[in-house]
């Protein structure tokens, strides 16, 4: 199944590049902007919550990389100084920033160039460095998927623990018989949850005992585990991961906030207060305002608070889900008139009405809050800390509700025609 999904997505990606470069330059009439910014993102969060990290499994970039690696064998080891999540975090923030600043949702050509750049960087890194260096240390989408997949109902795990205990060859991580072991350095007997797992199933293929499978797990159960994780260590000791979780959550709010009318008001306010008219610096300032305190708080928080940070994930994910499901559902069938010309598809059937979509958005936000609160109570029993933390969660939830309830602004950017 993995190979079929990869081939399908690889050719679909090629098509999207072609459509983006050579198709209509008007975003709503171009399948690249439509599929990438509406359908892909919506289906991604839906798949993550309903099934698992299947989008990483079917990654077209890794499919291309694997093909090239049959001819070019990487020799170098990824630099130790970069073997953490900081570079990926910087890329993730840059990605969010570029999305806002360059208005990627409105430019098919830019979107196509972004896909090409992704292909080139993934190929360059993974043909230069051994293992899945791009996936583990650089890919911003991958890290998003890793964090979100901690809520997935499936994970890759062993079938029988005794077989793993008696195993001395450890093909699942080392590889063997010309098969790859885990390239993100996860040792199946000690693997906890989905963080850093690309669902590639290389471990399953490599295991001579057929002792690896995709198993069902309870939603978000790994988030309350504070023990050592294979390939990661203790999550509360990983400031890079904790910062990523923070940015994942606040970034979700920021990404949604940038779509409402108040963003424009904040922008105008900042321009008047700071005496800066340049949009680049204003966007940088908004990002700094939202994200900089986060790093400061995480760096200076004590151990017990750090252990609570993963409990942000359900709420953070619900914010992303609420935002992406809005675009997916309200524009669900907008691709039909683009594929079938003169289809006369009724306008009111292009998407699902807001009266249906809005309750889904709020309902999911509420579920996210509940899941976050439950997770935090599982992590710590210190009452005072728990009260403070849950108040913080409630504040983020209310912020998300406020953003979701504000009038949408599609931020159309066409400037070419006037009366």
């Amino acid at each position: 199944m993995k190979r079929i999904l990869q081939v399908v997505l690889f050719f679909l990606t090629l098509f999207l590049i072609a459509e983006g470069l050579w198709g209509s330059n008007f975003a709503p009439k171009n399948l690249t902007t439509l599929f990438v910014w509406v359908h892909y993102r919506g289906l991604l969060v839906l798949t993550l919550i309903l099934a698992g990290n299947y989008f990483c499994m079917s990654c077209p970039f890794i499919f291309a990389r694997n093909g090239f690696r049959l001819f070019i064998t990487p020799k170098k080891v990824f630099p130790k100084i970069l073997s953490n999540k900081w570079t990926a975090l910087a890329l993730f923030i840059s990605f969010l920033f570029c999305y806002e600043y360059f208005e990627l949702w409105a430019y098919p050509r830019l979107t196509a160039l972004l896909i090409i750049a992704y292909f080139l960087v993934a190929l360059f890194i993974d043909l230069l460095f051994k293992n899945a260096s791009f996936c583990k240390y650089l890919c911003p989408i991958g890290q998003f998927n890793f964090i979100a997949s901690t809520l997935s109902p499936r994970e890759v795990s062993f079938i029988d623990e005794k077989i793993c205990q008696n195993c001395t060859t450890h093909e699942c991580i080392k590889g063997g018989d010309h098969k790859r072991g885990c390239e993100t350095n996860l040792f199946i007997p000690k693997k906890i949850g989905n963080l850093d797992c690309t669902f590639c199933l290389d471990c399953k293929d490599a295991c001579p005992h057929q002792n690896v499978k995709i198993s069902n797990v309870t939603y978000g159960q790994e988030l309350s585990m504070t023990t050592h994780r294979s390939g990661l260590g203790k999550l509360s000791n990983r400031t890079d991961w904790l910062s990523f979780i923070g940015v994942f959550t606040i970034g979700g709010l920021l990404n949604a906030f940038m779509m409402i009318d108040r963003e424009r008001m904040l922008r105008d306010f900042l321009k008047s207060v700071l005496f800066i008219q340049n949009d680049f610096f204003i966007t940088v300032f908004i990002f700094l305002l939202a994200l900089a305190p986060l790093f400061f708080l995480i760096k200076n928080s004590h151990q017990e608070t750090r252990e609570l940070i993963p409990s942000l994930i359900p709420l953070g994910f619900s914010i992303w889900f609420s935002h992406y499901s809005f675009h997916l559902l309200t524009g669900l069938f907008t691709f039909i008139p683009l594929i079938i010309k003169d289809s006369n598809w009724p306008i009111h059937l292009l998407g699902i009405p807001l009266r249906v979509v809005t309750p889904i958005q709020f309902g999911f936000l509420f579920l996210g809050l509940v899941a976050s609160v439950i997770t935090s109570t599982k992590i710590t029993s210190r009452r005072s800390l728990l009260i403070k933390w849950n108040l913080f969660l409630a504040f983020l939830f209310l912020l998300a509700v406020w953003i979701t309830s504000r009038p949408m602004e599609m931020r159309g950017t066409f400037l070419g025609a006037g009366p």
Binding site: L14, L70, I347, G416
Partner: protein, 154 residues
Amino acid sequence: MKLTLKKLSVHVQSLNQKRLKAIGVLLSALIFVSFLYTRYHQGGPKEFLIENDDQIILTWQNFPKKFPIHAPLFLEFSLKNVKNESIKKAQISVEFTMNHAGMVPLMTSASFDGIKEIYQIKQSLNMHGTWIVILTISLENKPISTKTVSFTTD
């Protein structure tokens, strides 16, 4: 030793098969992209919002300075040909859209006021942002022409 050599030979064979498959996929990808390139370049460039007709002159008679949302918006315009003669009873479909993927447009049509000889559009906007209005003008025995205008809500 023999066993190792046998294993190695099996490996080389399987590697060659894999390489052949990879070359096959790469060639298929190249053919696919070439096919797409040819398809996309048939029938000229597909740039959006190129106004394809300078035989029809559109003049805005009423184009407000402020655009509130969830309130009726009235736009009025006249159409004339190059001889400065008024064009009457053209079929004009009007699409209010935004430059955002997944945007569901608002569709309406312009009605003709025979006394003032102007066309009128009435529409309530449902969202903040920069709107693009695309007028598709159909006249008997003439090719369809498009006119566009954009504005930003308050």
